[in-house]
Amino acid sequence: MNRITIAAAVTLAAASLSTQAMARDSVWIAGSSTVFPFSTAVAETFGRESSFPTPKVESLGTGGGFKLFCSGVGVDKSDISNASRAIKLSEFEQCRENGVTEITEVKIGYDGIAIANAKSGPVIDLTLGELWQALAKDVPNDAGELVPNPYKKWSEINKDLPDVAIEVLGPPPTSGTRDAFVELAMEGGCDSFDSIKALKKTDKDKHKAVCHGIREDGAFVEAGENDNLIVQKLVANPNALGIFGYSFLDQNADKVQGAKIDGVEPTFETIADGSYPVSRSIYFYVKNAHVGTIPGIQEYVAEFTNDKAWGPEGYLADKGLIPLPDDMRASVAEQAQALTPMEAPAK
């Protein structure tokens, strides 16, 4: 028995040593779960149509992706980082400290966040302000003072809205969709109240707390990371609203309908032209130091920034990516393929 134990220990040691010295022959991409479906589609096509092996794509979340990306240069660090937001200054500096000095930023398109309900329910038409009033922890009363959210029904906020209890299913705080929802929808909504907008100048922290605070009395339900699950729950409960990525609305158009926000319906066109307010840009970042060492990085970037992938008729549009406008796409593609390093981001 002891012999086996020793043998096992030796195999383990040998295995870990031999792999350390081994070079990596496939591109390693890690980061946002929002970009994951697009990144994997490109990786698969790239693997199928080029002579390079299929890149490995990890879904770690935007922050986790940057942490790995910025931890240094070497085969045991990722080559490309997917992100559902632009890189932060702190992350950029972290990168620089660890020797990752040249980073190419590639903006790939837009992602909309849909607020939807079941097809059997009424069509909802909300303003961002109303959405914020329904979901915020504290809202201003008639006198403009902040009080704990008193609204139980949509009709109490605006009598044109349905007379049903407020029940919104959304992603948990760990999700990038939640971050984007809070930043775009909640903050946009609360700034439509003058008293709160004024707060931004006097007390920035308080402004953020008021705008970003989501009520915890049961009206907002954290339904988990799985957007498919939210769709199922909406079908079962026609009075509830759900928050998820636009691609899930697109795929489930027979089951759920998107609410109009400020009068704009979430569609491919409205997100692309920016008239739908709850949308964000998505990116990936390339570590220039790895180009040349790891084969296939440049070719992967070229595949991604080809119109047959990310163009309006490309296969990523079928997966729910909202493409950049034509002129912007051309200039981003040119910079990406030349691997032009980015400047430090503004804070």
Partner: protein
């Protein structure tokens, strides 16, 4: 009592009291039994519900829609120089052959937009199928043959009835035009559902019709093999030492308490440990069966040690005494007599530990297993994922066709778990000895 007798009431004997309460006691017992039975029935009902839901959603994934088209293997497209060079054959534009075949079946479709819609009915994987056909048999070049081609996932969903044809066009993923084509193909017998071999032979894919569990299954296999290799010898060795050789003092007590506590540690903690120690310090590569096996070994070790110690305890002391009495050394006693008798119990514990490891996802989150890996892993250090993680990734995919595939993958995982647990039960039945 005395007062009652004095008042002229009949004398009350103990047996009367017992008889009087008997009915109530019987009723109590019946209620308790019913409650117990109810609990069992409820438990079974939930299991049945779970299975019914998974099987109900997943069984359709074992079939896949194919579309038959008369494909002309045009020499000018495949091999213009006629040299039969494998590299030329590999790089030829097979998608063009499919488009041409579609034009023959639907000659009236000419507008660019419509041909695009027509082209999207066939999976992007179909052209590699044609390529494999030509590579296997170059004589096909120049002939025309009816070929069954893989349909796109939307068409698959439509044919399987997961997309309601009666809905208005705006709410349906498949548009009226395509629906018309599908119905025409159906009436001509050019659409057929076949057994989905791709599901068992391919790695994952972003196209549901090309996605399979082979990559995840191989990953799980490599991971479990290594986990067994690491944890079984160490677990049995530790149990043997602690149970048979170690002095009984405060230190061994402490170790015992710690092992029992380890068995109850949430599995994600082992993942964090793996990330910090194995990846951070030892540089074990991420997303490989090796790192997964190291983490899962840590997780299953306490289970195996506890089960092995229980098995050793159940071997009666008379066996040891008899062996020692005829002059065997302590090591001989253990290896020749105690260990063989305890082995069935140890194996049962190990198999249950392995089954646990097979179904585990949480510790793998931290060590890079939540990854999209198309190629089927070829060894212990090639990037791979495992079955439960594949299920997690598919469950999160927006495409409708992944719903049935998720359930089908769950069915495969459950089949393996049931098989393993059944083996454990059979082992115990067959070899367990009672004294």
């Amino acid at each position: 009592m005395n007062n009652a007798r004095a008042a002229g009431a009949p004398p009350q004997r103990t047996i009367d009291i017992v008889n009087a309460s008997l009915k109530r006691r019987y009723a109590k017992e019946r209620r308790f039994r019913l409650l117990g039975l109810g609990a069992v029935v409820l438990g079974l009902l939930f299991v049945a519900l779970l299975f019914a839901d998974i099987v109900g959603k997943g069984y359709t994934a074992f079939q896949q829609t194919y579309i038959q088209l008369p494909v002309t293997f045009d020499a000018s497209v495949i091999d213009p120089e006629g040299a039969l060079d494998p590299e030329t054959l590999r790089r030829a534009n097979y998608a063009a052959l499919i488009r041409k075949a579609q034009r023959e079946v639907f000659p009236e479709v000419t507008a660019r937009r419509d041909t695009r819609a027509l082209g999207s009915m066939i999976s992007v994987g179909a052209s590699s199928h044609l390529r494999d056909m030509v590579l296997a048999d170059p004589d096909l070049i120049g002939t025309t043959k009816e070929v069954w081609l893989l349909a796109d996932d939307d068409i698959d969903m439509l044919v399987k009835g997961h997309i309601d044809r009666t809905l208005p066009e705006s709410e349906r993923r498949v548009k009226d035009q395509t629906l018309g084509w599908v119905e025409r193909l159906e009436s001509e017998g050019r659409i057929e559902k076949r057994f989905n071999t791709i599901f068992f032979t391919h790695g994952t894919s972003r196209e549901p019709e090309l996605a399979g569990i082979a990559g995840a299954l191989m990953g799980s296999f490599y991971t479990l093999a290594l986990t067994l290799l690491f944890s079984f010898p160490i677990g049995v060795g530790a149990a043997l030492y602690l149970e048979e050789f170690a002095p009984k003092n405060r230190w061994t007590d402490l170790i015992e308490v710690n092992i029992n506590n380890l068995a109850a540690v949430p599995s994600i903690v082992f993942g964090l440990l793996g990330l910090a120690v194995f990846i951070g310090i030892f540089g074990v590569p991420r997303s490989t069966p090796l790192i997964a096996a190291l983490v899962l070994s840590l997780m299953t070790l306490p289970t195996i040690i506890i089960a092995s110690r229980a098995a050793l305890k159940s071997v009666p002391p008379s066996i040891r005494e008899a062996a020692l009495g005829v002059g065997a050394s302590p090591l001989q006693t253990q290896l020749h007599h105690v260990l063989p008798l305890a082995m069935p119990g140890m194996l049962t514990g190990t198999i249950i530990g392995m089954a646990q490891a097979l179904g585990e996802t949480a510790p793998l989150l931290m060590i890079g297993m939540i990854a999209f890996i198309v190629d089927i892993p070829s060894g212990f250090t090639s990037p791979s994922t495992v079955l439960p993680v594949q299920i997690f990734l598919w469950a999160d995919s927006p495409e409708r066709a992944f719903v049935e595939r998720t359930s089908a993958a769950i069915m495969v995982l459950l089949a393996f778990l049931i098989l393993m647990n059944l083996t454990a039960v059979l082992l115990r039945r067959r070899f367990e000895r009672r004294w």
